[in-house]
Symmetry: C2
Subunit: 352 residues, 2 copies
């Protein structure tokens, strides 16, 4: 690449992202992303890892999530503001960047509100493929908001789920989710209580959005052999599961230093035993032992998943073409002459 090529940064905006998803097919995107994330989790020790850098306020949080594998660097900007919905705004919005470590130059800037929804669902699917009982076919989804359809379709495509049981404290959210998934081929039922929804489910996924301790699952709701994806508890002070469930389950996490602050296990002692998901993938730790064990993926979202998502997106943009280009990097003819670049623009505008 020449300097002028690098001066223009490929950019995927929201519309472009929607078209890319529609061109490839949402379920294929989710399956491919699951594989990209698995690839990166298998080479986990290579990555620079750090808990996200969070700026908390009374209304929510703004976070930066950087990581690098030594060749490429990625970061995501993401906010979480539960009160936004009432103002007609997204609870979570995000964008991110992939960069070249050798030069520090950006390779791709992208919207990541949609991409985060996809990678979060793909990560749950990866954990479920690894940990759920073989032959699992039914998932109960507690919380039917913006994440729910993506979670359901990822579990269908990646794990062979055929039946979906829905519950939300707001029936309107459940109606929206059912309508959106009407043509998906999933056998969908809605329930009036979380207790009914989780009955006989092989897998339970919780993805509620309140920024508070809200007990979505009680211990007596959880039978033997279930796999749980607890996705909604993802910041300090926000959990979804009663602590008794954590004591009965084997808990799997992304990156313990972050999950102990943000995840369900923030309720537990700092030495509460957890297994890192990447260790199961790489064969250095045990996953599910038997059919009666309760496995719990305490997912909070980690920077490496965003790295994988941006890497996947870059590959799709290269493969399919498209994407816009932003004039984001100043590119003077002589790199030491930033000042002269402005002066040349002056003369271009007003030739003497």
């Amino acid at each position: 690449m020449t300097a002028s090529d690098l001066a223009y940064v490929p950019f995927v905006d929201v519309e472009e992202m929607m078209h890319l998803i529609l061109d490839i097919g949402l379920e294929t995107c989710l399956a491919d992303l699951t594989n990209y994330i698995e690839e990166d989790f298998r080479r986990w020790p290579l990555f620079d890892k750090t808990p996200r850098v969070a700026a908390h306020s009374s209304n929510g949080v703004i976070e930066l999530m950087p990581t690098s594998d030594g060749q490429e660097y990625a970061f995501k900007y993401v906010n979480g503001h539960p009160g936004n919905m009432k103002k007609g705004l997204q609870t979570v919005t995000a964008f991110g960047l992939l960069a070249d470590v050798e030069s520090g130059y950006p390779l791709l800037l992208s919207e990541m509100t949609l991409l985060t929804a996809l990678r979060t669902a793909a990560t749950s699917a990866l954990a479920t493929r690894l940990l759920a009982r073989p032959g699992s076919r039914t998932v109960a989804m507690i919380g039917n908001g913006a994440q729910s359809e993506f979670q359901a379709l990822a579990l269908k495509k990646v794990c062979g789920i055929t039946a979906l049981r829905l519950f939300d404290t707001d029936p309107e959210a459940t109606r929206k989710c059912m309508a959106n998934l009407a043509g998906s081929g999933l056998d969908i039922t809605s329930y009036k209580t979380a207790e009914e929804a989780v009955m006989d489910a092989d897998i339970i996924t919780t993805c509620t959005a309140d920024k508070q301790m809200a007990t979505v699952l009680h211990d007596n709701m959880i039978g033997a052999g279930v796999h749980i994806n607890a996705i909604g508890g993802d910041c300090p002070g926000k959990t979804e599961l009663q602590a008794d469930i954590l004591n009965r389950a084997n808990v799997f996490v992304e990156y313990p230093p972050q999950t102990r602050i943000e995840g369900e296990i923030q309720q537990m002692a700092s030495d509460f035993p957890v297994t890192e998901l990447w260790e199961v993938l790489s064969g250095t730790a045990e996953g599910r032992r038997d059919a009666r064990q309760i496995t719990l993926f305490d997912g909070v979202g980690f920077a490496i998943e965003d790295f994988s998502a941006l890497r996947w997106l870059r590959d799709q943009v290269e493969r399919l073409g498209g994407g816009k280009r932003l004039d984001l990097i100043a590119d003077p003819d002589d790199p030491r002459d930033l000042f002269g670049m402005i002066e040349r623009e002056r003369h271009r505008r007003n030739p003497a």
Copy 2:
């Protein structure tokens, strides 16, 4: 603002930034920026402060620099790769974002390669206005690369500098700087050695770029009463000044936890006494005591300066109009229905 307004993020690209600088006038930009930075330094305790989040590699560093005053949040992405110049690339490139803390929504995305050059010069000017001997008229500039012209013009406009003495190990850099500043009204002389250049100068600014310990100023070059801006030493392992100078001078810094790692004072013990610039501005610490004292601003660049720069830029874009708008934030009609937004796009593309 409505949700749809917020879905489009104002964007200042490199071309737009050049036009804005030319429309306002570079020296006016530098003076205004100096005042914005001073305003924010005066309310320093309000800000969330953290050392930058750095990803180091053998070739350079990629950094994220976030901060917030509780109302607005800003971060900058910036790289530093000294080897880039030989490949025709910028040593430093940057972009950044201003966001609304209450909603987490982005308010402005901007190129910051040019803006960082401006705010770095403005910060030196702020320190010089505060610390240099009254009546200082002559500056010696050691290192005549991409920062040099901005530094010189900021000192001229903000501090009343009239004479500029130049030295660089590469005579080509000095020729470039002289040519660029030919019409500036500054009385400019170039020198074959740093020793000659600093002789009788009231102010010395070092802004060299090597990522290594390089002694640009020796103790015997520094006379009584001089004010020094040491700008180039800005990462671990990179300094410009002999330690003896630090022992003779009163050292002023931006944010000690970052400067002790990155600045000239990385050569000194961890309790080496420094004064924070904001304390002098707010009147809680002493600045220059007398005309014989050596004052040293050990500048490494801090997130609050980027916050000030983005705040200034946002005000200019609002005042002058212009700027582009990026479709960066997914904005479904129902904020819980991200999935439905993709489906509606499908129907829009292929009406049944």
